[in-house]
């Protein structure tokens, strides 16, 4: 198979300097950890997983050495089980609900075990975990997806397994969505994300990059040519502060900056720099930790409210603290200080009290580079391309979270563009649910709780 996407990745990328925070387990380590699993009935870890992977079953399969079977159990529920194993906030999902946790024992390392099973089982991209069903004339349908992120990949992959034809249009040159461009590299490198994309392609999914719907192909054309259209566009550009000095070198939107680190060999080196990260959410802490790990001299996270109001996961914030990230709270940036040549010198902040700036508290925090992690805009234009698709007040696509159905009977949607920005695993769940719903509709059968197994 042609590994187009893997081959186009530049070899020199900043992200490669970041260590793997949760390295791949060896066989002995995996089996010994799998043996610890109690194999709970109606296990809480399953319920905590947005894709409801049958975790005790896949873990017991690792314990017996049935690694392919284990991966199959994972992929039946979560086709992107590999990237999820690496990027999921397991501390607040499956592992956080492990019965060992309440018992004051270390929970089972579910994320690492899931990586072990999925990485080994898909090491050879030609090894077929699933054998996609052959297309049946009249019964097999054609679907198009907009955006090649986790939601679309799951949607297209599951339908391809069921014998439908699925094509994904991606406006970027690189598919994978945030897995390729936005996930903290110490969790997942771009090439790992692209290997997974290649694996989904091996199920028969076609991916066309550099194609923007609305520009290169009109929405009406998609609706005319395909039986269903899936919107999985995610979110748009990073939000801006709109303060003086913001426009210029070295003030980046956080996701744009992460994308540079992951994909662009010309990105600014971080070592020795002072970095200001604006924001208190998970993207902010991701950027802050990445910079700290890349050898920044100082990383300051600037947040307008108190530390306990930061929306970043506690385990991530704690991890950042240990890595040297300094938190400046109750501080709102009011501008960026630049020298006469435009070089960034500092960010000016004002102290906030009860949500209001306190006069006379303005001060400069020196920085060589600033990242704005205060949210992302919504890709509102897509709704205009597809009649009947509505946006809510936030700009999110209105869709039924159980089926992905929108106001247009042929259009479905899932992922960040409907939820405003959640985890990869939520996007996979949305894509899968929409695929299940559609396949059941087309085959006039009840919605399955699991996809039919292919393979030997």
């Amino acid at each position: 198979m042609n590994r187009t996407f893997l081959n186009q990745l530049p070899p020199e990328r900043i992200e490669l300097g970041l260590p793997d925070k949760k390295p791949l387990m060896g066989e002995a380590e995996a089996r010994s950890e799998a043996d610890r699993c109690l194999y709970c009935t109606d296990a809480p870890c399953i319920k905590a997983c947005p894709t409801e992977i049958d975790i005790p079953t896949f873990i017991k399969k690792i314990a017996t050495g049935n690694v392919t079977g284990s991966a199959k159990t994972i992929f039946e529920q979560n086709l992107l089980g590999y990237s999820c194993s690496r990027v999921c906030p397991v501390e607040v999902l499956c592992e956080g609900s492990c019965v060992y946790t309440a018992w004051q024992h270390r929970p089972i390392s579910i994320g690492k075990l899931q990586r072990y099973a999925t990485e080994h089982a898909t090491k050879n991209l030609d090894a077929q975990i699933f054998t996609p069903k052959a297309a049946v004339a009249g019964r097999s349908k054609k679907v198009a997806c907009i955006g090649a992120g986790p939601a679309s990949l799951a949607f297209a992959g599951y339908l391809a397994i069921e014998g439908h034809s699925a094509v994904i249009f991606e406006k970027r040159a690189t598919p994978g969505g945030l897995n390729a461009t936005g996930v903290a590299p110490y969790k997942l490198h771009a090439e790992d994300a692209l290997r997974e994309v290649e694996w989904v392609r091996s199920l028969g999914v076609e991916i066309k990059t550099g194609v923007e719907i609305g520009k290169d192909i009109k929405g009406a054309q998609l609706l005319a040519e395909y039986d269903a259209v899936f919107i999985g566009v995610g979110l748009g550009d990073d939000s801006r502060l709109d303060v003086p000095g913001e426009v210029g070198v070295n003030v980046h939107g956080a996701t744009a900056w992460i994308e540079k680190m992951k994909l662009d060999p010309r990105a600014t080196p971080i070592r020795g720099c002072t970095i200001a990260v604006i924001g208190g959410g998970n993207t902010a802490i991701d950027v802050a930790r990445e910079c700290a790990l890349l050898g920044a001299a100082e990383v300051v996270m600037i947040y307008r409210r108190g530390a306990d109001e930061m929306s970043g996961y506690k385990h991530e914030l704690d991890g950042g603290r240990k890595e040297g990230v300094r938190f400046v709270t109750h501080a709102q940036p009011t501008g960026f200080v630049r020298d006469e040549r435009g070089a960034l010198l500092a960010v000016t902040v004002v102290t906030m009290k009860d949500g209001k700036p306190v006069a006379g508290t303005e001060r400069d925090i020196a920085c060589d580079l600033a990242a704005l992690a205060i949210g992302q805009s919504k890709l509102r234009a897509i709704a205009a391309e597809l009649p009947g698709v509505a946006l809510d007040a936030r700009g999110c696509v209105v869709a039924d979270p159980k089926t992905g159905a929108t106001g247009n009977l042929k259009v479905f949607s899932g992922g960040d563009c409907i939820n405003g920005g959640k985890e990869v695993v939520n996007a996979v769940a949305d894509g899968r649910n929409a695929a299940r719903h559609l396949h059941a509709l087309w085959s006039a059968s009840p919605i399955p709780t699991r996809f039919t197994r292919g393979g030997p």
Partner: protein, 451 residues
Amino acid sequence: MADLSIDCAGIKSPNPFWLASAPPANTGDQVMRAFDAGWGGAVWKTLGDPIVNTSSRFGGIDYAGGKVMGFNNIELITDRPLSVNLREIREVKRRYPKHAVVVSLMTETKHDWQTLIRKVEDTGCDGLELNFGCPHGMCERGMGSSVGQEPKLLTEITSWAKEFAKTPVLVKLTPNTGDIVEAGIAARAGGGDGISLINTIKSLIGVDLDLLVPNPRVGRSSTNGGYCGPAVKPIALHMVAALAREKQIGIPISGIGGISNWRDAAEFIALGSTSVQVCTAVMHHGFRIVEDMIEGLSSYLDSKGMKSVNELVGRAVPAYEEWGDLDLDYKVIARIDPKTCIGCQLCVTACNDGAHQCIFTGPGEHNRPAHAHTPGKAKAPLPLPIGTLAGDRVPWVDEPECVGCNLCQIVCPVTGCITMEEIPAAKSETWNQRVAAGRGKVPGGIHDDDV
């Protein structure tokens, strides 16, 4: 502190913990290091005409992450010259006069036995153990378990040994026999002073699924070996107790089979062992384990007010009865402690799939299975105490339907969370009493009409 010293069939030892005749008791160096660690005695690895061993020779069974649940070997008796062994035994006895040095023997003709016993006893050893148990290699040459499986032969060779021996003779029995009591009676009939059991169980430890050759693999093939380790303990306990309660036998027992710690040892002693022998646990963890064995047994005896380990010997034997003598009116039911339950619900699945379908989750009323003893609904108990670990995941027992099988308690990972509570009974009747009273027939049998 309780006195741990024992006298097993005339063999005295500062404590009941002996190394079994096996690789840990192969050389003087090992035995002396074991004595330094605290072992009370050692049964020297079987002497006879030296043999040639294979490579490889051991195999183990792991279970759920634990290593060496069971162990098997195809090693034979000593492969070292007799003179070397004898010199070392003499040296050990010289340096450790108060420790028990028993020598395991295996040979063929009466003349061989006479010569071997004379040479061995000349070292100053404390006793002999006749190896009638080895189930691999030696039995094919007419020795080991081929003797232990043939009561007449067992009696005859024991009587030869007794004819020549001046020190006490322990007869080591094989479990690879239909009725261990028959073998015990034969050992006693031959004049044995005591009985050691069990030797290993004839076994194939597993198969290499890549090569499709059993383990332990010796080139292109393997052979059956002797199985031991923690997994065989229940088999050994039964055999020890079966001999201990047989009045025709009445000689001391040295218990062997999966003993890994003081609790195991105390169980063997309570079922009639005077000394206990250990091999696999030492092969797994070394001689150092004896420190805990001594302390643990000693504390246990103290806690039970026993001044000597001898007070424990056989104390549980009278409670080993035939099924027909068990009280059919005795009743226990399972209780789940909501405070310590972690909500894994293993008991729910175990009860539902493997027992009597009487553990439920969730509030309110639940349908009992169609075969329930009492028709009607199972009712959840009152709301759970606040602050439990597992909250609403704590299961509950439909007590009227619980038969007291213990399964939930067995599978529960939290020791002490599920207890089996005794329900006082108004009467007491055994099966044998029922039969005697003419009520030995239970309705629904082969000859009953269902319609």
